[in-house]
Amino acid sequence: MITISQLSKKYGGQVVLDLPNLEIPVGQCFGLVGNNGAGKTTLFSLILDLIRPSTGTVSNHGIIVSENEDWKKTTSAFIDESFLIGYLTPEEYFQFVADLRKVSKATLDEWLEQFIGFFNGEILNKKKYLRDFSKGNQKKVGIVAALIGMPQTIILDEPFANLDPTTQIRLKELISSMAQTQKTTFLISSHDLMHVTEVCNRIVLLEKGRLLKDINKTPQTLAELEAYFKG
């Protein structure tokens, strides 16, 4: 569960995010949409304590993230390619994350088997460093690594971008099944309205740092969002 109160972020005099309060309950698939500059990545960075809030707090399962590091035990994320370690092979990278999450090698190997389809034969046993992979394949590795060790909260920034259509569909299935079977909380931002409405049960629309809509998904949600973005 993530609780946001009086959270704001200013750069110079400019407010880039201003959220009086927002609560994301356990097991929710939370979708974040908005045009460039709406504050999506800023919000994720604040939740991950990567930038300092100008006011307010984010608390993750009752822990205020800027004061205590313990939230890291239950949370994982993939924001962009800077989350990858370029000089490792995908196997080593998975192992590194698994080691930090106290997942044994045997468990990891077994767990990775379910992703054989997702990887499409392009990731494992390639004897290649991550820095030499294409952007799409790097993304696959980053997303899968974020799922290692069954974290309770998973944050994915633009997970569908750069993926090929087959992988996009597989990723949607994966997220839905994890959210259902393991009660994982997902925070997903996307420019792809169709994917995000399909996979999430709540959509929040940001505009210039402010919350404009907070929608519990209905069959009309996609049309509603499209109407907004048409302007």
Binding site: A77, F83, L84, Y87, K128
Partner: protein
């Protein structure tokens, strides 16, 4: 087109880079250093004539210089190869713009030619020539000779640029050594032939044509080389490398720190920049040989200096960029199930292991006496107990991101070890030297060694407390560090 200028781009690049204020300060300090060096060279140039007259009275100074000039050129090449920073131009941005390739390349050539290193022949040999003229040498002969020297040095400069990313320096070194040997055993007089050639250049001013042609040729070759690099798939493409297999199971016994230390091993051996650290580790092991072999340094603070460096080479070179090595994926580390404490403790452990390994490898220094090895051990204990923590502190302030993946190509700068980084190491050296000096003042050599050891042991005793402080310091700077690392330079 008139508004376009490489100079303006470079200016912007400097002033808009993260932490440019810090860079400016180091530049100013470097500026002073350069001035000092320039003054020294100038003095050498002015005095060279008299010096040689005194040392080798049977030959005119110019003949002496000519004879050894080939060695001078070789030393120039070595220095440039290992120290000179290559000019960097971000040419990728210009590939599709309507700017003639010729112009971009000429810009690089100019940058190569107007390097500070090229002032050396002007500062040394021009005053020398002028002094020689006042002593009665022919002005035409002397000045043309100097011009020849300048052109040769500039040609060497191009040569060092061409071979900088290759391993050609080693065969060249071998050839010079072979030449020296052949000369020494009087088989083939290679070196003295080179000396005679230089002498002919002096005596027959028309021969100035030879260095001129060489210079133009070298410039042309460099030009062609740069031109051939001008495609995305040659000079600018990063080549895929073979994976260096590293299982590193032996590190598993380190427990919680194992994954991070394994990662650091991979970092060090798989990245161009980081690989230099291994070289530094080995080179510094031999550092003591400079000081422990000479009587004038006996018991002096210079010994401490040497002792700290012999075991601390890795600690100093790796540690001064501690979070920066991880700059490319620092945000990822900050989101992992990994506390700052574990992260920093693993870095401390890695540095400690390197010092212990170095201290063990320094065993042969016993040859120079128990005293020497005792000092090395004391220095090692100081390094472990205190040096590591000071290094971690200084690393936290060093927020220049390191591009690990910088590939060896003509337009990129891969020289990681430079003077500005050296400046940061000064306090780490002065403290132990001071401690030793104090101890020695009070209780003699043994007192100095003892004071160093005790300080180190105290550091070890309060290891957790010190680590707490380091952790606090890192957490305090977390957002600033992340911001600096995430800035795309």
């Amino acid at each position: 087109m008139n508004s376009f200028s490489f100079r303006a781009f470079n200016k912007k690049k400097f002033f808009r880079s993260p932490q440019w204020e810090m860079k400016l300060v180091t530049r100013i300090l470097i500026g002073f250093f350069v001035l000092y060096m320039a003054a020294s060279f100038l003095l050498l140039g002015l005095g060279l004539h008299y010096l040689l007259e005194k040392m080798v009275p049977e030959h005119p100074p110019i003949n002496v210089i000519n004879r050894v000039f080939i060695y001078y050129l070789f030393v120039e090449l070595l220095f440039r190869y290992f120290l000179q920073q290559l000019p960097v131009t971000d040419i990728k941005n210009f590939l599709l713009l309507p700017i003639p390739k010729r112009r971009v390349i000429m810009n690089v050539l100019f940058k190569i030619t107007f390097s500070l290193y090229n002032l050396v022949p002007i500062l040394i040999f021009l005053p020398f020539s002028i002094v020689s003229i006042t002593k009665g040498a022919s002005a035409v002969q002397m000045l043309l000779w100097w011009l020849g020297v300048l052109l040769m040095v500039l040609s060497i400069n191009f040569l060092s640029f061409l071979i900088n990313k290759t391993k050609w320096i080693y065969p060249v070194t071998a050839i010079v050594f072979l030449g020296g040997l052949l000369e020494y055993y009087q088989i083939v007089p290679v070196i003295s032939s080179a000396g005679q050639a230089m002498q002919m250049l002096y005596e027959q001013p028309l021969l100035i044509l030879a260095p001129m042609v060489t210079f133009v040729l070298m410039a042309q070759i460099t030009f062609n080389h740069l031109k051939s690099q001008f495609y995305l798939d040659t000079g600018l493409q990063s080549k895929r490398e073979q994976v260096l297999g590293m299982q590193l199971h032996f590190l598993d016994r380190l427990g919680e720190d194992a994954p991070l230390i394994k990662n650091d091993f991979r970092l060090i051996f798989r990245n161009v920049r980081a690989r230099q650290i291994v070289l530094m580790f080995v080179l510094f092991l031999f550092y003591g040989l400079i000081f422990f072999t000479q009587d004038i340094y006996m018991d002096s603070p210079m010994w401490v200096f040497a002792a700290i460096f012999t075991t601390g080479g890795f600690m100093l070179t790796y540690g001064q960029s501690v979070p920066a090595w991880d700059s490319e994926y620092y945000s990822m580390l900050m989101c992992q199930n990994l506390s700052y404490r574990t992260y920093l403790r693993s870095k401390w452990l890695l540095m400690t292991l390197s010092v212990v390994l170095a201290a063990a490898l320094c065993f042969p220094y016993l040859y120079f006496g128990v005293k020497v090895y005792a000092l090395i051990l004391a220095g090692a204990i100081f390094n472990i107990g205190l040096g590591t923590f000071i290094t971690l502190f200084s690393g936290a302030i060093n927020r220049f991101p390191i591009k690990l993946n910088v590939k060896a190509k003509a337009f990129e700068n891969t020289q990681a070890f430079n003077f500005s980084q050296l400046l940061f190491t000064l306090p780490k050296i002065l403290l132990p030297v001071g401690l030793f000096w104090l101890g020695k003042l009070a209780w003699g050599f043994k007192g100095g060694v003892l004071l160093l050891t005790i300080t180190g042991l105290l550091g070890l005793l309060f290891k957790n407390k010190l680590l707490d402080q380091v952790v606090k310091f890192y957490i305090k700077g977390k957002y600033t560090t992340l911001e600096a690392f995430n800035k795309k330079d």
